[in-house]
């Protein structure tokens, strides 16, 4: 008799409720009551075979560092990865708003590279910067082009013009639920890379074929 596959555990990290839904905030107060954009996107890529094993906001990752010249976001990714590992998760999924810090893209990429070289039995990482912020990804999911050219404020303003205010996580999640992930504009490279990574990692980790 075949043993049923254990569900993969995914650790989510994001800026706040928009990304994490009711998984934002301190662990003791988290719930699965309502999803955020990251959970929704991962569910679109792979609906079954995984569960959320834990979540954190970036602001709760330790920030001060006495030694080392690394960009703080490189260390943040490592901190998120060890949190994921210690929560028994196989996968770390995150997005980090690039905001106005162009060095953040490379810092995050360096952090992802270091996860596998620094930790024993590291989690697989689905992560990267959201350019210019999560709102840019939502606009791209709505079919807007050149979203990575926008400032974070401009992206927020464009969403507001479509009736989605900055704190309206539920509206952002509805976009992620309804979007055609195969129709994301090519110039939304940060979102496209993130989805490609999710498509590579999740099916493998859940023992299911690529959708």
């Amino acid at each position: 008799m075949m043993k049923p596959l254990e569900k993969a555990r995914v650790f989510l990290v994001g800026e706040g409720e928009n990304e994490l839904g009711s998984r934002a905030g301190a662990p003791a107060y988290q719930s699965d009551k309502h999803p955020g954009v990251l959970f929704t996107l991962l569910s679109r890529v792979q609906p079954n075979g995984w569960v959320v094993g834990g979540a954190r906001e970036w602001k709760s990752i330790r920030k001060y560092q006495a030694r080392g010249a690394a960009h703080e976001d490189t260390r943040h990714v490592l901190g998120a990865a060890i949190d994921a590992k210690e929560a028994g998760c196989d996968v770390l999924a995150f997005s980090r708003d690039i905001d106005r810090d162009p060095a953040r893209r490379e810092a995050i990429a360096e952090g992802i590279r270091r996860v596998s070289s620094s930790l024993s039995s590291p989690p697989e990482v689905i992560g990267g910067v959201a350019v210019p912020a999560l709102e840019g990804w939502i606009l791209a999911l709505l079919g807007e082009k050149a979203t990575e050219e926008l400032s974070p404020l401009r992206a927020q303003a464009m969403l507001a013009a479509k009736g989605m205010m900055p704190g309206d996580g539920a509206a952002l999640v509805r976009v992620a639920e309804d979007a055609d992930l195969d129709a994301v504009p090519q110039d939304a490279a940060s979102l496209a890379e993130w989805l490609a990574r999710a498509r590579a990692v999740l099916p493998r980790r859940t023992g299911r074929g690529v959708r």
């Binding site: 662990p27 834990g54 901190g79 990865a81 620094s118 930790l119």
Partner: protein, 358 residues
Amino acid sequence: MDRPYVEQLRIQGYGCIQDTTLELTPLHALIGPNDSGKSTVLRALRTLSSVLERALGAPAPDPLGRGAPASKAHGGAVFEVSAASTTWRVELDAAGRVRSTSFPRDLEPPSLLDDADEDDGANGGPSPERPAPDIVQALRGTQMLRLDPDALRAPHPLIPDGRPLCFADERGTGLPALYDAVISRDLSAYIELNEELTRLFPSVRSIHLANPSSTTKAIGVKLEGGAVVPAALMSEGMLYYLAFAALPHLDPMPLLLVEEPEHGLHPARIADVMRALRIVSEKTQVLLATHSPLVVNELQPEEVTVVTRAGEQGMRATRILDTPGFEDRARVYALGELWLSYANGADEAPLLGGGPRP
């Protein structure tokens, strides 16, 4: 360190400690929640230093390495200090009577309690056995520092040439006289102290030593504009810094016990104090009790022991190096950051037991 120092300390039945063994290094910090027993360890070492002073007035040990019998200790404490190739075992009973013996470190300790006569305690027992040279070098002259700004500020009589350069007490009394003595004994060191002070406190031009009387010195600082700030008006942080900065220039002692070196210091100055303490630790073993992750950040993993209280079992000491997942965690966090990430201020279970941080 090129001389014997306390490498291992076992304490039984002392304060909140039932039975704990600590592995120590020339510079070492004890970290952990309030009331976990860090200060008890420092007190134990100070007690041992006092016992040693008493023992040095005692006759030499017998060739069998056994101390003379004393009254059997009931409800007393037992200590084993290991330095270089020797272990010194000290038994201290509830009445303060002491029995001690030295033996090679790789041998089982002889039990003094088992051999004790029941009828020899009437006169309080003999003085403890004279310890082996390794132990004397590791413990004799141990000093404690619990700096007190009022003591640091106080004018103090001059230290005559030839007298030891050290604080007059654990509160840091004598700071002005120490700086004065450094001038006469090592002018280049005094100049370096001044240069470092002005680098760290840019508004300060120099240390200012005044003479409130013909036999006392008072410390202050002269500002860039020429105004003198007397000790009474100096910040506590600057006074603490001056005390720690002076340490490398004092007469070496074998062991310095420091309570909360971070006290009163700006976070950016803590690294400077730790740098001074590391220099001191080349000749003097330095044992710290601290609550500051910034102090811990300046240490190596083998230099940090986590102290917790484990209910009935009393104090527990765990090297941070031996905590679960340390290797991975240390690749992500600086040492103090690692502690802070996993500490809970109570039993430090997430640090000592593994698993996700709180």
